[in-house]
Symmetry: C2
Subunit: 502 residues, 2 copies
Amino acid sequence: MDSILSQSIVLPLLLLLVSSYASAHIPRLGLQRRASRNKPQQASTLDGLATFYYKQPLDHFNYQPQSYDTFDQRYVINFKHWQGVNLNAPIIVGFGSEGDVEDDISFLDFPIRLASRYKAMLVYLEHRFYGKSVPFGSIEKAMKNASVRGYLNSAQALADYAEMLLHIKKMFASQTSPTIVMGASYGGMLASWFRLKYPHIALGALASSAPILYFDNITPQDGYYSIVSKSFKETSQTCYETIRRSWAEVDRIANNKPEGLMILSKRFKTCEKLNGSDELKYYLDHVLTSAAQYNNPHEKPVRGICAAIDEAARKNSDVIEQVVAGVVAFMGERDCYDVFESGHPDNPIDPFTWQEYSEIVMPIGISGKDKDSMFPTAPFDFNKFKKDCKALYGVSPNPHWITTFYGGQDLKLILHRFGSNIIFSNGLKDPYSSGGVLHNISESIVAIPTAEGSHCLDLQEGREDDPEWLISQRKAEMDIIDAWISKYYADLLQSTQTLGAH
Amino acid sequence: MDSILSQSIVLPLLLLLVSSYASAHIPRLGLQRRASRNKPQQASTLDGLATFYYKQPLDHFNYQPQSYDTFDQRYVINFKHWQGVNLNAPIIVGFGSEGDVEDDISFLDFPIRLASRYKAMLVYLEHRFYGKSVPFGSIEKAMKNASVRGYLNSAQALADYAEMLLHIKKMFASQTSPTIVMGASYGGMLASWFRLKYPHIALGALASSAPILYFDNITPQDGYYSIVSKSFKETSQTCYETIRRSWAEVDRIANNKPEGLMILSKRFKTCEKLNGSDELKYYLDHVLTSAAQYNNPHEKPVRGICAAIDEAARKNSDVIEQVVAGVVAFMGERDCYDVFESGHPDNPIDPFTWQEYSEIVMPIGISGKDKDSMFPTAPFDFNKFKKDCKALYGVSPNPHWITTFYGGQDLKLILHRFGSNIIFSNGLKDPYSSGGVLHNISESIVAIPTAEGSHCLDLQEGREDDPEWLISQRKAEMDIIDAWISKYYADLLQSTQTLGAH
């Protein structure tokens, strides 16, 4: 039996926060991302594309002698559609996010459509500390060295992208080409922030499923899990009730010593014997949130899980059996299930774990205030988070830095008379949409929410049987970008005619 | 005899580039700034103001353990006009530039007028590495330590200001108070960049005499000195001719060994015997550029110098005697003249020397193309500049960083549909206006140039006998800021009524 999520779709770009079940309240990367990483790389991903490396300074904001150290940062260019220099053909840029840029290239289809439409150069930039863009060669070495991992943060990453894009524009004599940047999830945050910080390099940004408001308590901590619960509840009340009851049942069995954990291990077919019920709950949380986050209109994984749960219930299975059926429906029939297949929580070598502890601090939790939650209460506990961060990395988190540097509070008040050319797209079924920008900010900083959309769906490859609303969403995004580019060409023409030196 | 520039006016905020005469083509701080620093501090500067210190991280863009080191950064608040929290009274902010904040407080009068007008809180922020805001206590220690001075740069300085302003807003429950930042010269650059990078903290910026386009060859290297020459030529053709001829005459005498330098030392009454004609030319350059830069409508120092030169000419003095008369007119009658009173060139302890070598790289030179130049040809030589930088500091300059991070090229094309609420004011008699923004960019990013204005004149204290155009300029600036604030209050009202959480 196949899993519900079709193997052909790579699902990276996912930020997941585990609440109570992990040993710490830690964010981690999602299962799908890692799964895709572990898959043998398709030979075709980079086929026909040109790979380059840029000598990137490790530190853009300091002029210590050691700041002049560089590392080789990868970028990939697709010249297939490019009409060339003289026509000021656009540059479409896919921002790498927290992973190998080859994952981004596989995942991001929308940039290809734009490149084809505009006869554009298509550029993919790999994020520092991921893929082949790791300082000093090895991610283990880089992440274990306190003075090296400090350079892994969003401001440095944006400055990398700025330098690389200026370099590319110069190399291909495309300084006046309109440049549109885009990214998904964390990559989408980077895209919107890049337009705000580097308007002289990017004309516009498409930020798909970018929860830029899930910082510093702008978004209530319950936002994420409330949408997960809602999604299950709307799909099947009985399924939702089963899941809601299952946590206590897991605990009850686990507490039935000495054999409780062995029983759970067997029933869930875990690859290793469980060391505690937290491990299992961590895994269930992962399955449920992933299904909700990627609840796309084709595979509909939430419906798949609930169908299996409800079917088991009709066969008078107990709660555990029902949940096991849901897991099997989502993950596919397997010999065993690795509860840590999405990565161990608090793995200090994982670069995004570091990012989430140090800077991308999203206070996601389950406060207990959402009476419809199907998850056990587990409020975000900053003090514990800080303690864990110190234990892991020896430094404290910087929970206010994102809003200090990029803003976030009173976003409409601030931006409706500042800035331009940003699309924030969100699928409202995506739990991260709770921290997204869902309302228009100005005439040209706009929100495109879709009621049925899931995480980063708009940027994925289109299908023949895509629903009308998804086709419309992509068209709306393209129309807006069309308008940016047309206006820019008109401005450029006027500027070369009349504006003179400045 | 007094000097032409009245003692009561402190003239800091001056960036000066010396061309050929210095031992290297180095930028340095201006004479007046240092003179004002060496003056005993008037007790009154901080009278009635509240001084605070903020625990500032040394490094905002890194999470190495050592980045968590902090230093005490000074800020000063004038509460005299403040109407308090409940009315969302504005916050007016004077940005410290390359000097002690007390100099900025003395110099900047316009913020006081605004504070009084708006019943605003008036805040002055001291720039890192200046005044009392020096990491590790001593500027010698800080500047001699390669891994400490690296933290002295504009991006870190803006992040300091961001953190301090958020802190102040929080401390005084003024999070929704409209905040207007302003600064003069380098401080003006910081103000305009701050509005672009931190629109969520500052509603608008007034950037007085900020040569943000004197980077990366956006402005021709001759811009600065051409205005100086023009100013003298327009004032007196004969005076201009004398100065123009004087350089060769200085060289001729200096080369008349062995006694040539002694003769020059005596004629110019230098405090120390000259070691070479470069020292004298460095000083003359300084006198002439300072006079042009601060050629305000009251003292009119260029006219003063030229009157003295022309008067000496009428008495049949030789060229040297004429120039000496000009120097005396500008500096005042003294026992002797210290050719390095504005600081030795290439003093590695001077923090702005470091800034200009590492980042604020303004390629000012005298290319020989300006046939009206009264200065000897001395093109900006980047290779020499780089060699000097390496010799002084062991690192290379970063001449493209300012335009990478802040932009500059095609400014109107980029910003006329991005950003808002910046005033660029320039006096066209100010040599730095050649690198300033002199044309409107959009409806709310505007230029206010004045034909007769000098460096940062608009922000200085008004006088009864100010000319009409200066009164109008200040009024125009105030009217614009009025409109920003009114619009903001209307937006704020609407936002609290309708915009909801985001």
